[in-house]
Symmetry: C2
Subunit: 341 residues, 2 copies
Amino acid sequence: GVAPAVHAQAAIRWRLASSFPKSLDTIFGAAEVFSKAVKEMSGGKFEVSVHAAGELMPAFGVVDGVQNGTVEMAHTAPYYFFGKNEAFAIGGAIPFGMNSRQLTAWIVDGNGGKLMREFYAKYSIVNFLGGNTGAQMGGWFRKEIKSPADIKGLKFRIGGFAGKVIERMGGVPQNIPGGEIYQALEKGTIDAAEWIGPYDDQKLGFNKVAPFYYYPGWWEGSLNLEFYVNQKALNGLSAENKAIVQAAAYEAHVTTQARYDARNPGALKQLVAAKTKVLPFPQSVLDASFQASMDLYGDLEKSNPDWKKIYDDYRNFQRDEILWFRFAEGRFDSFMSSKKL
Amino acid sequence: GVAPAVHAQAAIRWRLASSFPKSLDTIFGAAEVFSKAVKEMSGGKFEVSVHAAGELMPAFGVVDGVQNGTVEMAHTAPYYFFGKNEAFAIGGAIPFGMNSRQLTAWIVDGNGGKLMREFYAKYSIVNFLGGNTGAQMGGWFRKEIKSPADIKGLKFRIGGFAGKVIERMGGVPQNIPGGEIYQALEKGTIDAAEWIGPYDDQKLGFNKVAPFYYYPGWWEGSLNLEFYVNQKALNGLSAENKAIVQAAAYEAHVTTQARYDARNPGALKQLVAAKTKVLPFPQSVLDASFQASMDLYGDLEKSNPDWKKIYDDYRNFQRDEILWFRFAEGRFDSFMSSKKL
């Protein structure tokens, strides 16, 4: 007989702090997919426990937590941390940024992966792909938005970096956790709130207190979520486990995008059946938002060398992607949307 | 001191037969990404050697090879095997089918994964995602295509299942390996040839012998490549190695789509600089092709119960996806393509 395996290596137990509540099965679920894959691939010798926002640290405390080594890793939306450095947002979502496939391509096969990792090294973080929501909706409004003038004075719950553009347009960005948005909208403490898309939004019932549901969420043409791993913790892993972390992140990335894409259509149909008024932002509002975003980026090019270095590459890549997507991809999609199947 | 690890489990050596030549770094590379990830995650205890088309068996022999257990796995384009059963094509690409994100969503979070695995079980195959090319180009034509009448008699090199639609439109589909297309176009043995997209096409130099480059490739709004694993070989793996196979496939899936998306734009720009005439198929040609495809699917619903079972679900899913993609995703993309960055 063959002797049973003797494992010289101690079991590894990591903690992952999520910036999201358990109720968001889509986005919180990305960390669960990751954790399950790591456990299975390692035969239970490497386990990552997943903790919802607030359980170990506040939702917006996870970068500090990973940097300090309080937890080995986090799952979050990079733009939450624009206050530390605006460049965080580039790898997550910036207004009028890249769509899901374009952004993943920049990170995986363009210079994005290298540039963002150089940047994250300052925070002792190594980042991995952690899912994408796809293009988000523009959110829930108590009143119709007919022109850029309607943004002035608008108290708008909007997450992260995009608030800087809303401010430039005369709006008043509000930072309110997901669980408190409904009441704020109902009471009129805020005039509007964006969250994610039909599937996640429907669960929070916003359509009951704000009937106008606008699209697109121009500040999140896609939102790339990320896993942040403490550099020292990652260095301490065997080569096998490092590869396992990477592949598990890819599994979470595909699964999360697929869940959004598969679950949003049914939720949108139900919202429409419940009399939600689904409206496009007027062209004038999109144009003014685009201009305000480009002005902001122009200022950041001057004030933030990290932004300049990363965004210059991002923008060149995006320009080429948009050109290419107009051909096969864009024409195919537009033809299909003109046909009855 | 701690005793060194003793591995009771013998090393695992698998062979993977690809349907593609090594020169296609994009599509052939998917199997290399898979193999590298498996080796790294297992610390070299599980190795998958990757063999180009023809090395162990012909490109189109890989389903037989996996079914018979000649090789443990393959990497291929499912529609090559429509002659065995048209339902193979559904999980790969069918004319006017789903785009890349939609198809991945159907497989990962819709019923597609379950339905296709039930189908593949008849061939002792378990399938895994293996990359997507995104929407392909419509290929290279020696003469302009102005109406559906120009398809009649057209000798068109086109891969797999889509030839059945070309036939219905009066064209003459040709099955020619990639390496022989250039010469056939040059000599005029064929009138047109589709391959993949700018990056792969450019390497073969088709623009020198057929100046008109049409879009979109309506028969491949996306092409989902797949890894096929012999059921018995998979069953023989430990739970750890089964999970490693799955995660490595996800890694290959993301990496391959990213490579196509990142590399196509530059190649398209170079082709245009080399005087390639990039043209959209006329609306009348797309309309006629769409109708011929729907007629074919109507016939298959009656003649092939596997097709009916799988395609009914696929089509319902696709209908909902197209509806949803018109909102946030479609409006965002169309706005971005109207702006100068």
